[in-house]
């Protein structure tokens, strides 16, 4: 019996075990927490690479936990989409853990380190669990794991306002999770099953559609709150901007994507390709809300002066692109939407890492003070520029490719969505190029006074400005930045690599 058969579960259990060990290690030696966390994140990253390769080679993996066959036990279901997402999650999770070492030392007291690393592993493990599972109730449990860790991580640094941000996030998101549980109840009521594949078979045999619609609507509302779909995004800007930067990366690049993934799962797997016409009940509103989110998220982002808030609002817009692609439910738009999950994850993670590096080194949060940073932190700023260009969607980068597919899909449906995508890109160009312009061509003036003020925004004076000007962030922070910036550029040229995963995933989802 081959050990690689167990990787779908080990990828999750490794992180959970690491999380259980972290407080224990913290009792003995606090320094041990970091290497342990890196080790478990690295292991789960390697596992997910193997999973992706074997899924592409042998097709869908099904793992029956406990040896009980599906409708009775819990089944892990790994198809190309979940393997693709799992690779993104474990990779960026690994980078965030690596990045944490130097960054977090200045943010939170030493005493909290075990709790921090434990929660970090729980959030990644919970997301991986939510991606791998093929059981509706298990999806709820895993969603709850990464949500609770997310609430705690938002407030861990105890800056001014972080507790309230965490509270608001908790209240709104737990409405979402409770809706998910309620809809699980509805679906269980009429099908008698909790396994996704089994449900989809039994639902298509159902005569009365109302229970099904109700279940679908509640499920999608629940996950829409998790993924910050436009009118339900109110928790996002505060939570994402106040959290420590590695956590912002996890929240902005991954957690909302897992919400979007769960929407895909509920529409296309739980309700199945057979009911695709009827799932217009949710996909049409989702499409329109996503379009609104693209425009309004970008407009809000333009008005922000805090860099992390700006990035957070930009996430609202980008989740709009992803859900627009999913809502249109054609081959091209789905390809674009799922490909955009990768691009936004790489780009937004890189931007948040860069913002964190700047915050760590100089204490600057305000966009206006980015003037002339190119001279001081050249590598970070080049990475920032590359990632921003990718998110705007300018040709050589990977962001262009996904928006290209999205635009094709949108054009097939209606010119309105095409206009929304183009306008959204234009608006995002406005605020990203403003920052880039300041970085490279801004006049460095009235430095010290404004800088103190900028450091005050986060509630704590972050770090006194260093006297030597040419200083990059430490290596543990620089390496993730460089990797991500290269990734978001190279995948635009080597576009066939991600597409070789995305295309089979889309085919499978649309039942072709």
């Amino acid at each position: 019996m081959n050990i690689s058969q167990h990787f779908p579960i080990l990828v999750i259990i490794t992180l959970f075990t690491g999380a259980y060990l972290a407080p224990l290690a913290g009792l003995w030696k606090r320094k041990l927490c970091y290497p342990l966390a890196v080790l478990s994140a690295l292991l789960s990253f390697l596992f997910s690479v193997v999973i992706l390769l074997s899924v592409l080679e042998h097709g869908i993996i099904r793992y029956h936990v406990g040896g009980w066959e599906p409708p009775w036990g819990i089944e892990l279901l790994v198809d190309p989409l979940s393997a693709f997402m799992a690779l993104i999650v474990s990779f960026i999770g690994l980078l965030a853990v690596v990045y944490s070492k130097d960054y977090i030392a200045g943010e939170i007291p030493d005493k909290k380190l075990p709790a921090y690393y434990s929660l970090l592993q729980l959030i990644i493990g919970g997301m991986l669990g939510a991606l791998m599972t093929g059981d509706l109730f298990n999806l709820f449990v895993m969603t709850e794991i990464f949500s609770i860790s997310a609430y705690a991580l938002v407030s861990i640094a105890q800056k001014k306002g972080s507790l309230i941000a965490s509270y608001n996030y908790l209240i709104l998101a737990s409405v979402g999770t409770t809706f998910i549980l309620f809809s699980t109840g509805f679906i269980y009521m009429v099908t008698g099953s909790l396994n996704m594949v089994d449900i989809s078979q039994r639902l298509s045999a159902l005569e009365s559609p109302w229970v099904m619609y109700n279940g679908l609507i509640l499920l999608v509302i629940g996950f829409a709150i998790k993924s910050a779909l436009f009118p339900l995004h109110t928790w996002l800007p505060d939570a994402h901007s106040i959290a420590p930067s590695p956590v912002s990366v996890l929240l902005s690049a991954l957690v909302i994507k897992v919400g979007a993934y769960s929407i895909i799962r509920s529409v296309f797997t739980v309700f199945g390709p057979g009911l695709l016409e009827q799932s217009g009940v949710v996909t049409i509103p989702v499409t329109w809300m996503a379009s609104l989110g693209i425009l309004l998220g970008s407009i809000y982002a333009i008005t922000q002066t805090d860099i992390k808030r700006m990035l957070a609002y930009s996430s609202v817009a980008h989740i709009g692109y992803i859900l627009l692609g999913i809502g249109l439910a054609s081959t091209a738009s789905m390809t674009g939407g799922i490909f955009h999950i990768l691009n936004h994850a790489l780009g937004k993670a890189c931007l948040f890492f860069c913002a964190g590096a700047v915050l760590h080194k100089t204490g600057i949060r305000n966009v206006e003070e980015y003037t002339g940073l190119a001279g001081k932190m050249p590598i970070t700023m080049i990475a920032f520029t590359l990632a921003a260009i990718s998110l705007v969607g300018i040709p050589p980068t990977s962001g262009f490719m996904s928006k290209f597919y999205l635009a094709i899909g949108a054009y097939q449906e209606s010119w309105i969505f095409l206009a929304v995508i183009l306008l959204g890109s234009l608006l995002s160009a406005v605020f990203y190029f403003r920052v880039i312009n300041l970085i490279y061509f801004g006049e460095p003036e009235h430095k010290s006074g404004v800088r103190e003020q900028g450091a005050e925004i986060g509630g704590v004076v972050h770090r006194q400005p260093t006297t030597d000007n040419r200083r990059e962030a430490p290596l543990t922070m620089l390496i993730p930045i460089i990797i991500l910036a290269l990734g978001s550029t190279l995948f635009g040229i080597l576009v066939h690599i991600p597409l070789s995963v995305v295309e089979p995933a889309v085919k499978l989802l649309l039942g072709m």
């Binding site: 167990h6 259990i13 959970f16 259980y20 407080p23 224990l24 009792l27 406990g66 040896g67």
Partner: protein, 142 residues
């Protein structure tokens, strides 16, 4: 108010509550109950102790470090039992493949029992932790 009555009653009651909690944990497989419920009952008995005698009394019985260790070890034990299934050549959390000299259903029963105990250990430490930390926070404020 004179706490003598409360303290005396507490001193008499706590052992019985704990006994009942352990009963619920170990009888989980055959009667209503299980690790969660029993763990909460045992934790509640320690909370009663803290209410009557002050937080330091409960703290001295089960210190912060012990609670964290119980939390972690309880969870680790569960994951470890799951991994036993893989080690024995089966699937994660597959009990009946674990090589014990007993019929498979008995092995399942034993593992379910062990899991109940692991959960119980975890929960009793956690409930007490939640209570003590909350009160500690509010006391500091005064």
């Amino acid at each position: 108010m004179n706490p003598v009555v409360i303290r005396t009653v507490t001193r008499i009651l706590v052992p019985f509550i704990q006994l009942f909690g352990f009963y619920i944990i170990v009888h989980g497989p055959v009667s209503p109950g299980g690790g969660f419920q029993g763990g909460v009952v045992v934790g509640a008995s320690m909370i009663l102790l803290a209410l009557a005698y002050g937080a330091h009394e409960a703290e001295s019985k089960v210190s912060h470090h012990v609670r964290i260790a119980m939390d972690s070890l309880g969870s680790l034990a569960y994951a470890g039992i799951g991994l036993l299934g893989i080690a024995a050549g089966g699937l994660f959390l597959q009990y009946n493949i674990i090589p014990l000299p007993l019929p498979p259903a008995r092995v399942n029963g034993i593992m379910i029992f062990l899991i109940g105990v692991a959960i119980g250990v975890h929960i009793m430490a956690l409930v007490l932790s939640l209570f003590l930390h909350t009160t500690e926070e509010t006391e500091k404020d005064d």
